[in-house]
């Protein structure tokens, strides 16, 4: 295990250059270039903040920020999963011809989206200032919450990416899964919208404490609910362990299956 980590560390240069390449190539040659990184979440923000307060009459205070703070980590979640699921197959010409720790590919997919989230944070902070939200010292917990989310995402990414090599319809399953998951997570609405019993069930969703923690530290200015966040961390670590074991088992035959 230690060897594996050392090996991935030795290949960090590859990780960095793949992430850089993907970030830059996504918008290379387009008119707005790198600005597209911001346009997509901004557009979603605009649509949701019109639809929910004005059409669906949601009465949440500062709804735009309420939504935006939760939406960005959610985009990080879904686009990481979608990107990572196909990462091994997309990199098949590398996998078939060159040795490198295969885990780099899903790791790079998740890291690329992490970077996108971090760029998006600049809009969050600007918007928070504009809407007059007071930032507190609790903002400093942000890296911790982000790390916990990263662990959970990376675990799922490993499971999906290794299974996708064999089962190519998994991509659609992942899309449906994230679509349903979106409505089981309080992103466009507060968790209080659910009836009590269902709300309790929804509470087992490990993304709930993560999303709420982002709101706590950025919008409410309070520390995260550590107990509930610990639950997400434990689930995340379990998923990660399962993911690593599964990935290790599958990666030996990647070059043959592709």
């Amino acid at each position: 295990m230690i060897n594996r980590i050392e090996e991935v560390w030795a290949y960090r240069g590859m990780l960095v250059s793949i992430v850089k390449r993907d970030l830059r190539s996504r918008y290379k040659g387009s008119f707005l270039g790198f600005l597209w990184t911001f346009v997509n979440p901004l557009l979603q923000l605009v649509v949701y903040s019109i639809v929910f307060p004005y059409i669906l009459k949601v009465t949440q205070e500062n709804y735009a920020m309420f939504l935006f703070i939760a939406l960005l980590p959610w985009i990080f979640f879904t686009s990481s999963l979608q990107g990572a699921t196909t990462s091994i197959v997309a990199g098949s010409n590398l996998v078939k011809k060159i040795y490198f720790p295969r885990i780099i590919l899903p790791l790079a997919a998740v890291s690329t989206n992490l970077m996108n989230y971090i760029y998006g944070l600049s809009i969050v902070f600007a918007a928070l200032l504009i809407t007059g939200v007071h930032l507190t010292v609790n903002v400093l917990w942000l890296p911790v919450v982000l790390l916990i989310e990263f662990i959970f995402i990376f675990g799922l990414a490993l499971i999906f990416s290794s299974l996708y090599v064999k089962y190519r319809d998994l991509e659609h399953i992942v899309n449906v899964l994230t679509f349903v998951w979106f409505y089981l997570t309080p992103i466009v609405f507060p968790i209080t919208i659910f009836p009590e019993q269902i709300g309790e069930m929804v509470g087992y969703n490990p993304m709930v404490p993560i999303i709420e923690s982002f709101r706590d530290i950025l919008l409410n200015g309070t520390p995260p609910d550590w107990n509930r966040l610990l639950y997400s961390l434990i689930i995340g670590v379990i998923v990660l362990i399962v993911g690593v074991l599964l990935f290790e088992k599958c990666e030996k035959t990647f070059a043959e299956e592709l």
Binding site: G13, M14, V16, S25, I98, Y99, F100, Y167, I173
Partner: protein, 431 residues
């Protein structure tokens, strides 16, 4: 230190499952929409090989013999089903060129991406980048996006990155044919310099000349097993002989298949031209245009053929073995004398050898109604190449009765690596 084994391959077996109809989705797997039937292909069978530090090993064998699979197992792209492979040292592989190249990025940017996939850190690339660019001969093009490169430039850049690593163990698969002759020479020099620095090199190539030049030891593989291994020139000679023999056998087989299926075709032709050729009872008479066949047809050549050492009809001969040219004739009108002749031309129609019964002082004034003339050769001295056969019969005054130039093409395969048309038995003496 010198004799230390760096790559140790012990009893390695690798199989591939070849599915007839493989389920590729969860849906199909669950619903069992496709059968899971597969056949097993043995790429490597219980193969053992030790490679010592500083050795340069060449792997040869025909396609599908397991060479590339072996390389992929050594780099850990594939894993063996049975047996173990231990490697002491850092492996660099030149199996894939231009891995991770992105067309929109400049050559320089792609060097960093590509090198990082080979496991180099940014600092290491920084140290080498000037040398890589110099080696690639791209000059100022290095700042242009890779999509603007010609394929030659692309390969040069890719190769320059790959070869400017500092390998302990270098695996090379079929990629030495990159770029122009000068660039290839540079690459070979680079490999020579790795050798001098004590790197261990395993190389797969079809270019036997290169292998013979740079390898200390050659391993000849067939069907996932080692046939022979040893000194480069010795093994390569054996391999060439084996391949030549196999080529001749294969061509012979093809020839027989074509000529047997060809009969059917010709029969059809004969039906359509029935009124013209109704007097000939044989089916096999080939048709020739007037510029390659002329003569009064008072004696007609109905068929000619080449027989190999086993007496089988063929169009491919192994040099050094006996063969025979047979000419079937039919007498339509008696002549005072007859001269039968045959000749061999090169593919570009230069006469190699010609002979006839008059040159051999044979006086023929009577022949049967039908018969066969045989030109028997004890030993085929031609070198490898394609040749043309001509056959002819003329009368005593050399008036053509039936003269067929370029009756058929045939191939000679020779183990003699000399150039020219003929093998001359000889030995060298250096005084």
């Amino acid at each position: 230190m010198k004799d230390q084994t760096v790559i140790s391959i012990k009893n390695v077996t690798k199989t591939f499952k070849i599915y007839r109809d493989k389920p590729v989705s969860l849906k199909e797997k669950v619903l069992k929409l496709r059968s899971n039937e597969y056949s097993t292909f043995y790429a490597l069978k219980n193969l053992s090989l030790d490679i010592r530090r500083g050795e340069t090993i060449g792997l040869i064998g025909h396609n599908g013999c397991g060479k590339s699979t072996l390389l992929k197992l050594i780099t850990k792209i594939l894993y063996p089903d049975q047996g173990t492979i231990t490697v002491n040292g850092k492996i660099s592989s030149l199996i894939e060129l231009g891995a991770g190249f992105h067309p929109d990025f400049t050559g320089r940017e792609n060097i960093y991406i590509n090198a990082s996939i080979f496991g180099l850190s940014k600092k290491e690339v920084d140290q080498r980048i000037d040398e890589i660019i110099r080696f690639s001969e791209l000059g100022k093009f290095i700042e242009n996006p890779v999509r603007t490169y010609s394929s030659g430039m692309y390969m040069k850049l890719a190769f320059s990155v790959a070869i400017n690593v500092n390998p302990e163990i270098l695996l090379i698969d079929e990629i030495l044919s990159v770029g122009d002759a000068n660039f290839q020479k540079k690459c070979l020099e680079k490999i020579e310099s790795f050798k001098r620095n004590g790197a261990t090199i395993v190389i797969v190539a079809h270019d036997l000349g290169t292998i013979e030049k740079i390898c200390d030891r050659v391993v000849w593989m067939n069907e996932g097993q080692i046939v022979r291994q040893g000194e480069a020139d010795q093994i390569i000679n054996l391999y060439i002989q084996h391949m030549n023999k196999q080529f001749v056998e294969q061509r012979q087989q093809e020839y027989l298949e074509i000529s047997s299926s060809g009969v059917g075709e010709k029969e059809e032709v004969e039906v359509t031209e029935a009124n013209e050729s109704s007097d000939t009872s044989t089916v096999d008479e080939p048709t020739f245009s007037e510029d390659v066949r002329w003569g009064s047809k008072e004696v007609e050549i109905t068929e000619a053929r080449i027989l190999n050492a086993e007496g089988k009809v063929t169009n491919v001969l192994m040099a050094g073995e006996p063969f025979c040219i047979e000419i079937d004739y039919k007498l339509n009108r008696e002549q005072k004398a007859y001269i039968f002749g045959t000749g061999i031309y090169t593919a570009d129609k230069v006469l190699v050898y010609g002979n006839n019964t008059q040159i051999a002082n044979l006086k023929i004034d009577r022949i049967n109604k039908r018969g066969t003339v045989r030109f028997k050769v004890k030993k085929c001295n031609l070198l490898s190449g394609t040749y043309k056969l001509n056959v002819a019969v003329v009368d005593g005054d050399h008036r053509a009765l039936d003269f067929i130039k370029y009756y058929m093409d045939f191939t000679v395969v020779s183990n003699d690596k000399a150039v020219g048309l003929f093998t001359i038995e000889h030995e060298w003496e250096i005084g």
